[in-house]
Amino acid sequence: MRLASAALHAGLIVMCLALAAILAVAVLGLPVSGDGLSEAVTAHLRRSGVTHPVTAVLLNFRAYDTLLEMAVLLLILVGIGSLGVVTPEAPRGAPAHAVLREVVRVLIPFFVLVAGYLLWVGAFAPGGAFHAGAVLGAAGVVLILAGYRPPVFLRALLQACVLAGLVVFIAVGIATLLMQGAFLYYPAGWSKYMILLIEAAASVSIGVTLAAMFLGSLPAAWRSGA
């Protein structure tokens, strides 16, 4: 423990216990029913284009929140890149250890398969863009840990992937603004396809962004323009 004295430490514990008691009283005082939105969501679920209520809320009823979430991901990636931490370069070519190489070779296609399935199943079961994006991000992290780095000729494509999710989302919003008069107000009967389009772009974008955050910054070779 690093506190200056035992008295301070004891005072901290007392304050934390008091805070826990206050929060517990607040939580116990919540009404059991009557102040949720579940009835409103169930009433409009048929018009939303998907049959799973959480996906409908994320991508239709509260799509603007999801747009801002994509913007937060991009903002944090820019913030990480702006800090100038230089990632150590991977040795040229495949990683040296045979077991690591074979595990990566076997696992990565399964990652991609699972991500594609999660993206598709999000319409009627728990799943969707963020779940698929997280699995793709994990695939990217496994590749980075195994020593692979993206080759220089993929640089522009990866940067486009990072931007694709947000750009597609905003483009759909502007298109609906021009056609229907309200931002992200999907046309009747088209909700399912708009949601699928946004989710596909978003999952790729989230996967690449998460892997890029793990990498930490541009590798040294990219920085010097090699």
Binding site: R2, L19, G36, A56, D65, E69, L73, V85
Partner: protein, 99 residues
């Protein structure tokens, strides 16, 4: 006590434990983990609070909010870890890289 209430109280406990650990520990990595536990406690209260009424289906809006929250928390942890790396390298070579 319903299971929702039990999980909400567990979330409160996690929150307070994370807050205590954030204040007490000096190491940056421990503070980052403590903030993560703080956030996980809040998410737990949200999710359990969505299921308070056993007669209805769980409220999907808090579920969507927590999904967004998890992604933001992961990204913020990534940023915090990069800053911690910068701190570590600065402490190891004081004054290096100053412009």
């Amino acid at each position: 006590m319903t299971s929702a209430l039990f999980f909400m109280l567990t979330g409160v406990l996690l929150f307070v434990m994370g807050l205590y650990a954030l204040v007490v520990h000096a190491h940056v990595l421990r503070k980052i983990i403590a903030v993560n536990i703080l956030g996980t406690g809040v998410f737990m209260v949200f999710i359990a609070g969505a299921n308070r009424d056993p007669g209805l289906v769980p409220d999907p809006v808090p579920h969507a909010l927590v999904l967004t929250g998890i992604v933001v928390a992961v990204s913020a942890t990534a940023l915090a870890l990069v800053i911690a790396t910068l701190l570590y390298r600065h402490d190891a070579h004081p004054g290096a890289g100053e412009e």
